[in-house]
Symmetry: C2
Subunit: 204 residues, 2 copies
């Protein structure tokens, strides 16, 4: 895309492409929630999106290609990391965000479906791994700032701290299939902060 294409008021090349992508990913999300990865059919996604089949086949190629792009879009759209001034505040914001997302009536089923897709298909697994890698990169600076403030030891593995906030929430959501309460988010953040302060996440 050329710089000139962003002149205000002009029709951006890419504007149509972006609209097609939005429609296709919305249809993908709906189909995944409705019928799961095995029910994800490119012809039906194209029809629901109001987009030509050829476009969908050419641009996304396969059901796994659709899921991978949906996850890329979810990573791009997701909420920026908090900066509350303390590790405790930041990780609590993170835990609450994870809990709100997973219990959201629209997003919860999407996460169920992409986790299931990742269990069935290696390309989806790799895309899901990429989604969480992006989220970890987004939130890692909270831990780095805390190390700078002396809240946690130097050499604390920021990624591991962020993972440890998510883990108990995802465990209940996707593995043991238990309810996910506000208290679980509060506990997840508290345990991560306490373990980080104690140096249990420092790199070996």
């Amino acid at each position: 895309m050329e710089a000139a294409s962003f002149t205000p008021g002009s029709v951006r090349p890419g504007g149509r492409t972006a609209k097609v992508r939005t429609a296709v990913l919305e249809a993908t999300r709906a189909a995944l929630v409705e019928a799961g990865f095995h029910g994800l059919n490119l012809d039906r996604v194209a029809a629901h999106a109001g987009v030509g089949k050829t476009t969908v086949y050419r641009r996304w190629g396969s059901a796994a290609g659709l899921v991978a792009d949906l996850l890329r879009d979810m990573a791009e759209q997701s909420v920026p990391a908090a900066d509350t001034g303390s590790l405790e505040g930041d990780l609590l914001a993170n835990a609450r965000l994870v809990r709100e997302t997973l219990t959201d009536p629209r997003m919860g089923p999407v996460f169920q479906a992409v986790i299931a897709a990742a269990a069935c298909d290696e390309e989806c697994a790799s895309a899901l791994n990429g989604f969480y890698a992006t989220r970890i990169r987004e939130w890692a600076p909270c831990v780095e700032r805390a190390a700078g403030r002396g809240e946690v030891p130097a050499g604390t593995d920021a990624a591991e701290v962020i993972r440890s906030v998510s883990a108990p929430l995802y465990y209940r959501f996707a593995v043991s299939r238990e309810a996910l309460a506000e208290a679980d988010a509060v506990r997840a953040a508290a345990v991560a902060v306490s373990a980080a302060r104690s140096g249990l996440f420092t790199r070996n």
Copy 2:
């Protein structure tokens, strides 16, 4: 089954039933790993198990019924909880067991498949929840003994401590799709012990 049926050397009533169950669950496990929950077909399971279709339909009823019974069998067969004399030793044994199971070439794919099945089907979700409830009941006494020894505060939620050991390992395995190393098991146990000692798992 009557007590007399267990006379050594006698043919146990139930012996045939137990053999049929073993064969059917083994075929279920293989089919799940091979083709996932959506590829689980009662006729093919019956054929692979060398058991009549009618038996499989009458006794298990559906693909979800097969998965639920497989999970019951996995819970029954699983390794008893450790009793090493310290919470640290017991939770480390637990973390290592979880890691070994999930990275086992035979069992890892079974866990992937049942987690995916649970994401697609409510009966499977309820069976998976039951599997982890059984495992938590099996391991909770480690925490209760630790409370008795004064290692952790009275009122510590034993189930929550056991969940917290599993959570980071399952998060990598089923959600973020990252490698699962021995160091992850060691860290999971250390974080759970530290948080339990600090009273972060006491009931409100």
